[in-house]
């Protein structure tokens, strides 16, 4: 009995050790396994100027290593495609191409998602300090901007998820406005 208990403790201890060892490296390796695919998203924006949060929803798809599409369906159709170094926006039948490197604020938004999805630690660490908590089943990664241009706009980004799947991305801007992007995989058919 004691032996079994001891074994159990040892096992717990080991799992405990395993917990402590879940680090950014492992998370990134796991994320890098993600082969991409489509997800549904719901985005809530809390803007101090407005009395109610703004809601948007639609679908996102990710093709490793650097193509990310965000199709907003509600309240108004809008498409955002991040492909390599270019961000293409389509709205009201108009199309706008933004050169990412020239817009640090756009970069702050999109590169954080893309680098997280692709498990690109080096790219993330160029612009952010990373803090990871939780375990593989339930992790939370906080990105605090270290690059000045981004830090002027953004306090932090909080990404959370399970294993290789990102579930939620939260942006907190320097002016206190924030937005939450909740992600739900679409089951393979």
């Amino acid at each position: 009995m004691i032996k079994r208990w001891f074994f159990g403790v040892a096992l717990l201890g080991l799992t405990g050790l395993a917990h402590a060892a879940y680090d950014v490296q492992q998370l990134m390796a796991e994320l890098a396994q993600n082969k991409g695919g489509r997800v549904r998203f719901v985005e809530k924006r809390f803007v101090a100027l407005l009395d109610k949060p703004l809601l948007a929803s639609g679908e996102m798809s990710y093709t490793p290593p650097d193509r990310l599409e965000k199709h907003t369906l509600l309240p108004k159709p809008e498409t955002m495609v991040l492909d390599g170094g270019r961000l293409i926006l389509e709205r009201d039948k108009r199309r706008m191409t933004i050169n990412l490197a020239s817009r640090p604020e756009a970069l702050a938004f999109v590169d954080s998602i893309r680098s997280t999805l692709s498990g690109n630690r080096r790219s993330l660490e160029q612009n952010y300090a990373l803090q990871l908590s939780g375990d593989s089943r339930q992790w939370v990664l906080v990105l605090v901007p270290s690059e000045q241009g981004i830090a002027a706009l953004l306090q932090r980004i909080t990404v959370s998820g399970t294993q290789s799947q990102v579930r939620k991305i939260e942006y907190l801007q320097t002016d206190g406005d924030r937005s939450e992007l909740t992600i739900e995989p679409i089951e393979a058919q």
């Binding site: 407005l50 948007a56 108004k76 961000l87 926006l89 108009r94 706008m96 191409t97 801007q173």
Partner: protein, 778 residues
């Protein structure tokens, strides 16, 4: 002797007067050499753009070497140093801080500028829709940029103004400044205050960029960086320097060659000096006449002088060599008529060019015509008096005997020459479609390396090449702006259909007073707006209570009245408007440059559809490239008819003086075959023929006929003695040297004439010896 002094004195006086005219002449080396003297409406746009348009004032700058950070540092330093300088209207390198003044202007005048401002937009319904839309924008990625303006501009007029700009593809950015596509060069785009046609101003601006770069790169300790620069101004400066250097080099070369030949023959410094007299008079007279007739003398025209002196010295050679034995009187009777005929054929050849609408060609013709005629007149009337009766040029016996021996055997080559000529004709016939270069750029002094560099910088920066333009003309500024707005409405439809990518218009930043007044009249009074806003936003997430700034701004716009041109001062937009809206001799002119849609092949526009859309609106659509092609085609077909007319005139002259169909046919056949062989040879070595080669063919006929005529005299039974033969050979040699020097020029106009007429003159005398000189003379 006193008469000699008097003649010399008169000549000296004329030369001094000529020198005074030349001293006060205006010389130019810019594009106007190529631009039409009587432009059509479309060509006027072309000429205006090339000389003074915005595009003609762009300088593109690339910084290479080092790493991205070092390049960016120098780029920023360069911008901050140059931006304040009076020589530059705008200096851009992609730094966002550089756009503050423009943003403030657009915010301030948004109600005058926004096309969305209509009475409907400020009704309760309109406000609800506009504010709802602006809030949606907040949720999009551009929302963050717009958020600070939301409470003052809840209808999103600023966005509506910015939407019109649609800058297309922005250049790449590295370390916060513009970079080339591959990121390896930092890029800047400069606009000079000096007009494109002001070559001195462009030169000063370019020097300032280079000096400033050297200084800031030194201060930044970035020694590995290099600067490369391109643009119309750079081309103008460079081509002027090339032409300047070439004019003196060509003159030196051909003068030296001619002097060596003359000294070898004359063995007398005095005769040499006297021979140079008609030549110098001719060269001077050419410049004087061109300056008096055209007002401006092109550098290229003066460069042509090196060929002219080779031709003008001939008459003195004929005089000295031929008159030596026979004496002056007999020379005047026997030889002068033949020489006069030669002068006349040359004059007809050059004279045909006078009627060209291509100003450069007309100048070359006038220059050469007056030069040749002056040289001949000086030879006939001044030289004999100065030289006196006893001029004796020793005839080198052995040399001339050798020549006679060769000449006597020349007819044996008739069959090979006939075969060669036949081969040349067949070759030309087979290759007839690939002979001509149908592009005006064939005449441009810009070399291929520079053109390629320019194209690379332009595509890196996405700088406009302003190929497509819509232009409207009206008696005053207000009606020009209204016309631009009407044309803009037609263009908007084409943009909506995706037929064109977009367009610029001066009315975008300076709408007509009529339109601005209508917009401001759509704005309700403060109390009315307050009421409507409260109603419109009753259940919106944005509460009406936060919009005090909006009510204030609308009221301020209502009271502020219309925006004037001077309100743009201090922003880059002032330049944008001025470059698109200008006052010319025919009234006010507005330009609307068009951009192709991003899917367009090779940046081409559906020209017919644009024309159809603008039909009846009074706006003129111009495709610069096809205008250029049409212009060149016009020059070319005109040159063909002028050359033919010149040829016919020469034939007529020869027919009149030879009075024998057989003799005429023999002379003409020789000349035509000479031209055929030269052209076939040029094509064989890969030379693409253009307009100036065509002119060269005419000149081969004009110049070559002189030699054919002398041999023809022998064929007609008159004796050909040692003096005549010697004078012919020497004259041909100097002509070949004069035109041959041009072949060394890198200026395509001069080079083409040189490579055609240099070998052509040589071949003309050789073929004349074979085909015209009788088989059984002496």
């Amino acid at each position: 002797m006193s008469s000699a002094l008097r003649v010399f004195g008169l000549w000296l006086l004329a030369m001094a007067a000529g020198a005074a005219v030349v001293w006060n002449s205006h010389f130019s080396a810019d594009m106007s050499f190529f631009l039409p003297s009587k432009p059509s409406a479309e060509q006027k746009v072309l000429v205006g753009q090339l000389k003074d348009g915005t595009v003609s004032r762009l300088l593109m700058v690339a910084i290479e070497g080092g790493d991205a950070a070092a390049r960016a540092k120098v780029s920023r330093a360069l911008r901050s140093q140059l931006a304040g300088q009076p020589g530059f209207v705008s200096v851009q390198n992609g730094e966002i801080e550089g756009l503050g003044a423009e943003r403030d202007f657009l915010v301030r005048y948004r109600y005058q500028l926004s096309p969305a401002v209509t009475p409907e937009r400020f009704t309760v319904e309109g406000l609800r829709a506009a504010v709802g839309n602006a809030i949606d924008t907040l949720a999009s990625p551009v929302g963050m940029l717009f958020k600070p303006y939301l409470t003052r501009d809840p209808t999103g007029e600023l966005l509506a103004v910015l939407d019109q700009l649609n800058p297309g593809d922005q250049p790449e950015t590295r370390a916060g400044v513009w970079a080339s596509r591959d990121g390896e060069r930092a890029m800047l785009l400069l606009q000079t205050r000096a007009l494109g046609s002001d070559t001195d101003g462009q030169e000063a601006a370019i020097a300032q960029v280079k000096d400033t770069f050297a200084r800031v790169a030194g201060e930044a300790g970035a020694s590995g960086l290099t600067l490369s620069l391109s643009g119309p101004g750079q081309f103008a400066v460079k081509s002027r320097a090339t032409i300047k250097a070439e004019v003196s080099r060509l003159f030196l070369l051909s003068s030296l060659g001619i002097i060596v030949v003359l000294l070898a023959v004359y063995r007398s410094g005095r005769l040499l000096a006297l021979s140079l007299l008609p030549m110098a008079s001719g060269a001077l007279a050419g410049v004087v006449v061109v300056s008096l007739v055209h007002g401006t003398v092109f550098g290229i025209t003066v460069g042509f002088g090196s060929a002219l002196i080779g031709e003008a010295v001939d008459y003195a050679i004929y005089f000295f060599v031929q008159s030596g034995r026979q004496g002056l009187k007999s020379w005047r009777e026997v030889f002068w008529p033949t020489i006069r005929l030669g002068v006349l054929t040359s004059a007809l050849g050059f004279g045909a060019l006078l009627f060209s609408g291509f100003p450069g060609l007309a100048q070359l013709g006038l220059y050469a015509l007056s030069g040749v005629v002056t040289a001949a007149l000086v030879t006939r009337f001044v030289l004999p008096t100065l030289a006196g009766e006893h001029v004796r040029v020793p005839v080198p016996g052995r040399f001339v005997n050798g020549l006679f021996a060769a000449l006597g055997r020349a007819h044996r080559l008739r069959l090979p020459v006939a075969l060669l000529a036949l081969a040349a004709c067949v070759f030309l016939f087979v290759e007839r479609d690939g002979l001509w270069d149908s592009n005006l750029s064939a005449l441009s002094t810009v070399n291929q390396v520079d053109a390629a560099n320019d194209g690379r910088l332009r595509s890196d920066l996405g700088a406009p090449d302003a190929r497509y333009m819509v232009t409207v003309t009206a008696p005053d500024q207000e009606s020009a702006l209204q016309a631009a707005e009407r044309a803009g409405e037609q263009l908007d439809r084409l943009v909506a259909d995706g037929r064109i990518g977009g367009y610029d218009s001066p009315a975008r930043f300076l709408p007509s007073v009529q339109r601005q007044t209508a917009r401001l009249a759509s704005l309700p009074s403060a109390s009315e707006l307050q009421t409507r806003v409260s109603q419109a936003l009753s259940d919106s997430p944005l509460s009406a209570g936060k919009l005090g700034g909006f009510i204030e701004d609308v009221e301020a716009a209502r009271r502020g009245g219309v925006l004037q041109r001077k309100d743009l001062d201090g922003t880059d937009l002032a330049l944008a408007v001025d470059s698109l809206l200008s006052q010319g001799p025919d009234g006010w002119n507005a330009m609307l440059p068009l951009r192709p849609s991003s899917e367009a092949q090779d940046g081409e526009l559906p020209v017919e559809q644009v024309r159809a859309a603008l039909a009846g609106s009074g706006a003129v659509f111009v495709d610069m490239k096809s205008e250029f092609d049409t212009l060149y085609q016009g020059y070319l077909s005109e040159a063909v008819s002028l050359s033919l007319a010149g040829f016919v005139a020469i034939v007529g002259l020869l027919a009149f003086s030879l009075r024998s169909a057989r003799r005429l046919a023999r002379v003409l056949l020789t000349l035509v075959l000479t031209v055929a062989i030269v052209i076939a040879g040029l094509h064989l070595i890969g030379e693409r023929l253009h307009l100036l080669h065509l002119v060269g063919m005419l000149l081969i006929v004009a110049v070559g006929s002189n030699y054919a005529l002398f041999f023809d005299r022998a064929a007609a039974g008159e004796p050909l003695d040692a003096e005549i033969l010697l004078s012919m050979v020497v004259a041909a040699l100097t002509t070949v040297i004069g035109f041959g020097a041009l072949a060394l020029s890198s200026v395509p106009v001069l080079n083409a004439v040189g490579v055609t007429v240099g070998p052509g003159a040589l071949l003309a005398i050789l073929l004349s010896a074979v085909l015209v000189y009788p088989a059984r003379a002496r």
